[in-house]
Symmetry: C2
């Protein structure tokens, strides 16, 4: 084994490989990929993985837990640009300038796999599926942002939050977790920041959705009680929610 076997973790036995770079790779290819990956120590809540200006050397795949990425303006005002869950790849915005462009910070204890980019790029020359997989991830991120523009420009606070919950539910399901009940690893404030709303609005809406019987809220725990009602309220949107 090329690596130090921290935590005895490998792509071959990772339960999220179906969402991650290994998708569509054959056994040999996955082994080669696995060989170049460096497993990092766990990140604790609030630990930063990357900061703007950091030299870009690696992409990161989320192994467990969750993280947020955000950018800052001069005033230090924060804008969250994405939440990351297992199988997601972090760092594509850094390629152009070979410098990371945003902060990425753990929302809870999290583990990531480091993918040294130079090696990955060399391997992508040989393994066509890996190359296409990398492009595919970036493409999905671009498409996701198009949906986001529709959401932020055209949808009400209610629709934004319902979409957010539905999207989370879908992502949990893809990862083998319950889509009916899940814990929010982000605060109400972070949800609002991401959706262009205030904490107060998020709080009020969650209360309202509960009164309407769509969800149940117990602090961070969300249970979706009425998928039909949720889908119904979202029907006119048709924003796909298939990617990271």
């Amino acid at each position: 084994m090329a690596n130090q076997d921290n935590f005895s973790i490998h792509c071959q036995n990772c339960s999220f490989s179906h969402l991650c770079l290994p998708v569509a790779l054959n056994k040999t290819e996955i082994e080669s990929l696995d060989d170049i990956i460096e497993r990092k120590k766990p990140l604790h809540k609030h630990d930063k993985l990357v900061r703007p200006g950091d030299a870009f050397r690696s992409l990161y795949a989320v192994r467990s837990g969750s993280l947020k990425s955000f950018v800052n303006n001069q005033d230090g005002e924060e804008q969250i640009v994405g939440f990351h869950f297992p199988g997601d790849i972090i760092g594509f915005d850094a390629l152009r300038e070979s410098q990371h462009q945003s902060f990425t910070q753990a929302l809870e204890t999290a583990m990531v796999c480091e993918l040294p980019y130079e090696t990955l790029d060399k391997m992508a020359i040989q393994f066509h599926k890996l190359r296409h997989q990398l492009m595919s991830f970036m493409s999905a991120e671009i498409k996701q942002h198009h949906d986001m523009m529709m959401l932020l420009n055209k949808r009400t606070a209610e629709e934004r939050l319902l979409y957010f919950l539905a999207h989370l539910s879908k992502r949990f399901e893809e990862r083998g977790f319950s889509h009916r009940q899940f814990n929010l690893s982000m605060t109400r404030n972070e949800i609002g920041n991401y959706l262009g709303l205030t904490v107060e609005t998020i709080s009020r809406l969650l209360t309202r959705f509960q009164k309407e019987g769509i969800i149940e809220v117990e602090g961070k725990l969300i249970s979706i009680m009425n998928f039909a009602a949720l889908d119904n309220k979202l029907q006119s949107m048709t924003i796909s929610s298939h990617c990271g």
Copy 2:
């Protein structure tokens, strides 16, 4: 010459190659790239280049004129996700599903260079700089969308429009056009759609900026009269505007 020499156009003599794929390629590489490019007939105003669902076979580089890309929801409501000018590459959102995901439509008479993706991908194996350039374009688009989220979530109507004008000005300058005076190829309605505002707001703001002496407006023609005032009003944003 591999192609039909429509309009006798080649990367070697294209005045936007410094912004386009050829950046950083050497003479031989540019010639190879040029060989695979198919020049298309000019698009006329309102002609569509691609539609959602179209099979993805090629990326397109803007050669002249300008275009908009937009997505639709079920109700047919339109959300513009980007404006394209010479040197820009169109179609990265299509890679993941091998289908185009958005409409791209000419805002005025425009010409594009078609880049057959399969061939481009093969060439990218050999020419590392070309591969990196492709990744770099996608990375820039992702970063651009992060800035957009900050703009849409945190900034007032005034700041959004000023940013839009400053960004346009910068893009024209990069392309060798005047950054002081330019024609808007998009309508007020399209600007508003892109920025999450209504036509009326755009119109009122342009009038106000003119009264304040920042710009002069004559229909589609915008002249920036006071860059200092413009920059001053944008100072707290620090949203980079360096990409397509």
